[in-house]
């Protein structure tokens, strides 16, 4: 692909320098370009500087906690502000459990909706439906929290959880009492919250697959499902990045989760038990934290949350790169 443009540019130029072609050489410049380039560069570096500033501030402020607890902060499950003992494990566990749980439910659901919207829905239905899905993203999280408390939790309490306990109570996943509040409520709320972002990005990615591919598949005698599978293969990496954006939102979600998760720093496999997340412990305890070590420990949790998001994003990027590479070589 690149070679072709190279050759064409070379022919037009007719110069011997054609081999060392670069786009920059083609661009006519004026002083405005210079200013524009530097203004945009400034903005780009501003973002970088902001990130570094945040990491720096958080690190400095969490130094007392880091010095006091060291690595044990991550592996300890004590959270006792009265005795100045702090450990972040229950919160890390709760964050990972709830976000991954939500992702597990949201991805198949979102991809299904996206397939319907981009491949199957008739025009008159597709537009309003897409709008509704995107509307879900615009609802403030506190509204989701209220919905959780007043609609979802009574329902979980009276219908869903007693049923699950009766039928599947032998599994550790469904042990406990049907409080309604707890890990299950958090996962369900998060699922609804990350659904629109995964759906709308997946839909856009699928739409960007050229129609000629679908036509070719159908012309070769593929069924509709087979042509959809071809579209899905082509948009795999896009769907994956959509899922990871959703995961990012789930990891950082605060208010809605705080309102339904039960806020108890226990580590439990059961979906019915109350739990706690890193974001919700910050929302809950920061305002009233007085001792220096207490504040410092909370800031260290913030730092860990930041690092965790960074790691998740890095893994995501790596997967997307590998997949795009494999896919493009497969096509070639």
């Amino acid at each position: 692909m690149n070679n072709k443009t190279d050759e064409r540019a070379g022919q037009q130029d007719g110069s011997p320098a054609a081999r060392s072609f670069s786009f920059r050489g083609l661009i006519r410049t004026n002083p405005g370009d210079f200013i524009f380039e530097n203004v945009t560069r400034f903005f780009a570096f501003l973002v970088l500087a902001l990130v570094f500033l945040m990491v720096y501030e958080m690190t400095v402020q969490s130094l007392p906690a880091i010095k006091e607890f060291g690595f044990g902060f991550i592996t300890s499950s004590d959270w006792d502000p009265v005795n100045n003992l702090f450990g972040a494990l229950p919160f890390i566990y709760g964050t990972l459990f709830s976000s991954l749980g939500a992702l597990l439910l949201a991805v198949p659901l979102s991809v299904g909706v996206a397939i319907f919207l981009s491949e199957l829905a008739p025009g008159w239905l597709e537009q309003p439906l897409s709008m509704l899905v995107e509307l879900l993203a615009a609802i403030p999280s506190i509204v989701y929290g209220l919905f959780g408390i007043f609609v979802m939790i009574p329902w979980l309490q009276s219908d869903i959880q007693p049923f699950l306990m009766e039928e599947f109570g032998w599994m550790p996943l469904f042990e406990g009492a049907p409080y309604g509040f707890g890990m299950m409520a958090a996962i369900l709320i998060l699922t609804i919250m990350i659904l629109p972002i995964i759906t709308s990005i997946s839909r856009d990615v699928m739409r960007s697959i050229p129609n000629s591919q679908r036509e070719a598949a159908l012309a070769l005698g593929a069924t509709r499902w087979e042509s959809i599978r071809i579209v899905l293969t082509g948009s795999k990496s896009g769907i994956l990045s959509a899922a990871l954006l959703g995961l990012g939102r789930a990891v950082g979600e605060t208010m809605a989760v705080t309102m339904v998760i039960g806020n108890s720093a226990d580590i439990s496999v059961s979906l019915l038990n109350p739990a706690h997340t890193m974001a919700s412990v910050l929302a809950n305890e920061f305002a009233e934290a007085t001792s220096k070590l207490y504040v410092s420990s909370l800031i260290e949790i913030a730092l860990l949350l930041f690092v965790m998001t960074l790691i998740l994003n890095a893994i995501a990027r790596a997967i997307v790169w590998r997949m795009t590479k494999r896919y493009s070589t497969a096509v070639a």
């Binding site: 705080t258 108890s264 919700s280 809950n284 305002a287 009233e288 007085t290």
Partner: protein, 349 residues
């Protein structure tokens, strides 16, 4: 280039103008910045509004929580703070070192913590003793038809249902009062959990804010939780009578709260830092607490100091009369007198 210069000149003129007008405004009226406790926010905003109408003094109060209030006072970013928990000696000496002045504690109103529950078969009027309450919150009493609860609630239909303990998930002055009480009445609680705005709860679910706890209790049969008196009265929650130090079962009322404070007058330290939980006297409700204004004894801005001094005096004289309408318990006269002695220490010279 010329237009650029012109623009610059206009901008400079505008900035200068704003600065000048700000300067004259500041001369005309005093503005006091405060931050802290959320519990007294309703009565404070009423007071600030009335006092502003009366004198033109402006208040800017941020209800960010007691802990936040204490931090802001320590950092010197506010003119006064507010807290539901009094400062420790160490916190006071820290502030003295940093800000070069002592901090006075001025109580303003009182609150009580009530034990709210959801038992349709019992209705209102459940009775609890301190040790039963502590053991429920420690997770030792697990069922509502436990023999110890039955014994003190004869004639009531206690269901065979698991007790769901609900507590605050956010740091809170209410939690501080409640755990302070449990620590005073239960040795096990004191050893295992202790006193604080946020503690390591042995069991239960956490709800955010008074409304979070109330919502959990309201929605879950068999739940028990603690909320501020004002909140329980306004939301018509059923709440328990508690056995006080004198051995009587007392319902949480404003009178019972004021009685608790009055019972402490004799033992009140002169700096007014006192916890009034588990008060003596047969009418006292045992889980009650004061909320304080935190005021620098020596403020740098003397006009502000005078304004604040006058305001607090007014609040203690006239302001108290608004308390009960807004569901706070007013201070007894003896304590108001002690507060005024503290107010007199604010230096305006």
């Amino acid at each position: 280039m010329e237009t650029f210069m012109k623009g610059k000149f206009i901008a400079a003129a505008i900035i200068l103008g704003t600065l000048l007008s700000l300067g004259t405004q500041a001369q005309a009226q005093v503005k006091l910045n405060g931050a802290g406790a959320t519990f007294p926010y309703i009565i404070y905003s009423k007071w600030f509004d009335l006092y502003h109408k009366k004198t033109g003094i402006q208040f800017n109060y941020q209800a960010i929580g007691s802990g936040g209030g204490i931090r802001q006072v320590t950092e010197g970013t506010v003119d006064f703070g507010a807290s539901d928990a009094f400062l420790s000696n160490k916190q006071l000496s820290d502030i003295k070192k940093k800000r070069g002045t002592a901090v006075l504690h001025i109580p303003t109103v009182m609150g009580a913590v009530v034990i709210s529950y959801n038992l349709p078969s019992v209705g209102s009027g459940l009775r609890l003793t301190p040790d039963v309450l502590a053991d429920i919150f420690l997770g030792k009493i697990k069922m509502w038809n436990d023999s110890r609860i039955k014994k003190i609630n004869k004639g009531k239909k206690l269901p065979s249902r698991a007790i769901l303990v609900v507590h605050r998930s956010d740091g809170s002055g209410t939690t501080n009062i409640f755990t302070d009480y449990l620590s005073k009445v239960s040795k096990t609680w004191n050893k295992k959990v202790g006193v604080g705005k946020a503690v390591n709860w042995p069991i239960g679910l956490g709800g955010k804010g008074n409304d979070g706890v109330a919502g959990l209790v309201k929605q879950t049969e068999g739940a028990i939780g603690y909320v501020e008196l004002a909140y329980a009265v306004q939301n018509k929650l059923s709440y328990a009578s508690l056995k006080n130090k004198a051995g009587k079962y007392v319902k949480p009322t404003f009178k019972a709260v004021s009685a608790a404070a009055a019972g402490f007058v004799k033992d009140m330290p002169s700096d007014l830092r006192v916890s009034i939980v588990n008060a003596g006297g047969k009418d006292s409700y045992p889980i009650a607490g004061l909320t304080w204004l935190l005021i620098y004894q020596d403020m740098k801005d003397k006009r502000k100091a005078k304004a604040l001094k006058d305001f607090v005096t007014w609040a203690l004289d006239e302001g108290e009369s608004y308390a009960e309408d807004l569901y706070y318990a007013p201070l007894p006269k003896e304590i108001v007198a002690m507060c005024k002695k503290q107010v007199a220490k604010i230096s305006t010279k």
